[in-house]
């Protein structure tokens, strides 16, 4: 663990999340306490069903926790009304999902500006231009999602998450549907966001290679964060993952 004091962009304290009732009840998060450092690339890994997505949703204010507290910056999400959560999603967080990130009826460019439009904010031209250049999609802005490859669609989604300058970008298996080259593009892009823009990124992934891009890896098993590794190598991730699943 790093010894110097970090500013946490997101923090979860003793967060528990259950689904269902009675015998069908599943404890997806079982007292998770974790901090996501600001300006870093944090990756969440773990076996299928271990609670990674649930953790991400709770950190991002997409889902409510059953107990515990989640702080985004210094805002306690558990105390927020639906309206305030909506405003928070609008202004403070960005999302990239595994699929269906873009509205099929809008062009890539329109999708890109959608969060700003929803918020009624005027896009910052210089910033938008820079984001578009970074994701390398300038010649694709007039295309519809159906006319883009999966990798291009994901890059539009990343650009969109950046364009509103959120405090944190959350990504749930953004490379899950991509081949290794497209995946590498998207991962490199996320890495650049962290390095060049100081963007905080939290990404769930199954891919140990993807974890190689991270500053920190959180290993989740059975609804608990069982390990935290800073600046890991791919081989190390493999080892740790092996340890978790055995």
């Amino acid at each position: 663990m790093s010894s110097h004091v970090e500013v946490a962009a997101v923090r979860a304290v003793a967060v528990t999340k259950r689904f269902g009732v009675g015998p069908a009840m599943v404890t997806a998060l079982d007292g998770v306490t974790v901090a996501v450092p600001a300006g870093r690339f944090t990756v969440v890994m773990g076996a299928s069903g271990s609670g990674k997505s649930t953790l991400l949703h709770c950190l991002a204010g997409l889902d409510r926790v059953d107990s515990g507290v989640v702080y985004l910056g210094d805002v306690d999400l558990t105390g927020l009304s639906e309206r305030a959560l909506t405003r928070l999603r609008r202004d403070r967080v960005g999302f990239v999902f595994q699929s269906f990130n873009l509205l099929p009826t809008l062009t890539a460019g329109e999708n890109l500006l959608l969060p700003l439009r929803i918020a009624g904010r005027v896009p910052d031209r210089a910033w938008t231009d820079r984001v578009v250049d970074v994701v390398g999609l300038r010649d694709r802005l007039a295309h519809r999602p159906a006319e883009l490859s999966g990798g291009q669609q994901q890059r539009v989604a990343v650009a969109r998450a950046l364009v509103a300058r959120p405090a944190v970008v959350f990504a749930d298996e953004p490379t899950g549907n991509l081949d290794s080259r497209a995946a590498a593009d998207v991962l490199a892009l996320l890495r650049r966001c962290v390095d060049e823009f100081g963007q905080t990124v939290v990404m769930v992934t199954h891919d140990p290679v993807a974890a190689g891009y991270a500053d920190r890896v959180l290993l989740v098993a059975d609804g608990r964060v069982v390990d935290e590794v800073d600046a890991p190598s791919v081989a190390m991730i493999h080892r740790r993952l092996g340890g978790v699943s055995s």
Binding site: S53, H57, L62, D63, E82, R83, T86, R87, R89, R90, D91, F95, F97, S99, F100, N101, L103, P104, T105, L106, E110, L114, P115, R117, I118, A119, G120, R160, D172
Partner: protein, 639 residues
Amino acid sequence: MIWRLVRRELAMRSRRAALTGVGAVVGVGLICGTLVLLETVAATAGADEDVRQLGQLVLVAGVVAVLVGAVLINAAFTVTVAQRTRELALLRCLGADGGQLRRLVGLEALVIGGLAGLVGLGAGVGVAAGLRAYVNSDLFPSGDLSGSGLVVSARTAVVSLLVGCGVTVLSALAPARRAGRTAPLAALRATPGSVRRAGQVRLVVGGVAVVLGVAAVPFAAVAGPGVLLLPAGVLTLLGLRLVGARVAGPLARLVGIPVARTLRLPGALAQANTARNPERTAATASALAIGLALVSFVLVLSASTKAAIEDEGARTPELHVRYEPRAGERAGIGADVVDRLAGLPELAAVAPLRSGEATVAGRPDRVTAVDPERYRRAQPLKVVAGSVTDLAAGGLGVTERVAATRGWTVGTPVPVRLPGGERTLTVRVVYAGNSYLPGAGDYLMAQADYAALGGDPTVRDVPMAARDGVPAGAVRAAVARVLAVDPALTVEDRGQARQRYLGQINRSTSLFLALAGLAGVVGLLGILTTTALSIVDRARELGMLRAVGMARHQIRLMIRGEALIVALLGVLGGGGLGLLFGWGAARVLAGSSSPTRFTVPTAALAAVAAAAAVAGVLAAALPARAASRIEVLGAIATE
């Protein structure tokens, strides 16, 4: 932002929008057609009352069509919002609030409604042109609009747009509210097309409405005021709409059993699909049910009225003189004609009737004056109490209905005032009156008393009886020769009178049927639209079925089977309601001045049911074909 999303949605998914808006077009078209017709009538000198009445009937049909259309539009938006759950949820993830999503759906409804209003305006001009052609043709007894062009005023256009937008937006309110409640997480886990189950409150409110509405029918029929039937009908329909989604599942399963038996695997899938999506099934079936309820209601009432006419046949004279004066003539049947008829050897009895305004026990009415002895022989009266011959000198005859409502029996004194004076007569005979066919009116009195009190001496009808053994043709010929002196007079026998009135009933029945049928057509349109929408919804699933080896024709069979099940639900529900309310109305009318005897027109109802089921399957033919053409790969790739 919202506006751009709406514009894109409508441009890229114009089929979906068209399928949604079509529900409003028929109703708007009819209403707009009426307005055009009425304004054309108003602009035409001497256009007559009949045309205006026709316009009003079409207007009623238009309102009904709008209501059925509202159910359809609601169904379409319900399906659409469910289909777009992921998109809506994605917008929520990107920071859209519930209000923005509500406005998104609402604005879409407004635009679709406006377009439907415009198309309806065009259709309305077509409807008006058709109506004008009908009025100008020989089919329409009076009126002529050939001299004037159709008048399409700004008012008509505004009303069309308002109705189109209004009905669409109102129908989209609930789906828009549902859209606003979309959770952001639904973007990640939603299986498109899953519709929430109806809430408990909705179930209870709907159930109570149905029970009250249905229970009100026998109450209105037996005890209460007949007008109660109208709110009862509305209440029942609203209630059914509310509980529909809950009962549609099990009902579809039940109705689907024979379909599954005959169509095998595709049928079984069809059964499962209709039961799986009860909201869509209920909305589509209820839209169809409204039309079928109206059609079967009209059929039951018509059959019941005809039954009453048949009942009167035995109480109508063998022959009578039909007096049809031309405008301005009021001479009545001449005394010489009556005398010559009385002299004919072919006739056994000739009983001229005079009738005029009178005040009977304080109420204005018409009384008929007869020679009791002649009348007894010429008019086959069904006497309930007393005797016709007792009418002579101070007697009064009343129908059963009058006796019942006024509480009179044989022996009751009744004051009768005629233009020349007043006298208290005594009820001497109670009989079954005829309301449709020629026969005894509500009040009978002796000719001598009538004349003494200065009653109107005009002879308006002459019932006659033929002498036994004389061939009918010879009797008619002899009477016709006498009547030849006056073109206003014709002889009519029992069969002809019956035919004439049945023909009138048939004409008005077919007019009402055509109008009710329009509601049915809108309902069938609903099968087309919801089926087509559901196929968009299920592209992946259909592709998967194809991938695992289902043949194209099996897919087609499956979709048609679904349409059949929905149509059967509509037929059963609509037919049941039509029968119930037809029974109620027939019972209410039974004791009125246009009486009925409740009769179930089994053959006609069966034909309508069969036609609706077949039409339902045909309506799904295009969507079924589209479904069978879905490419395996394309469907799997659909996101």
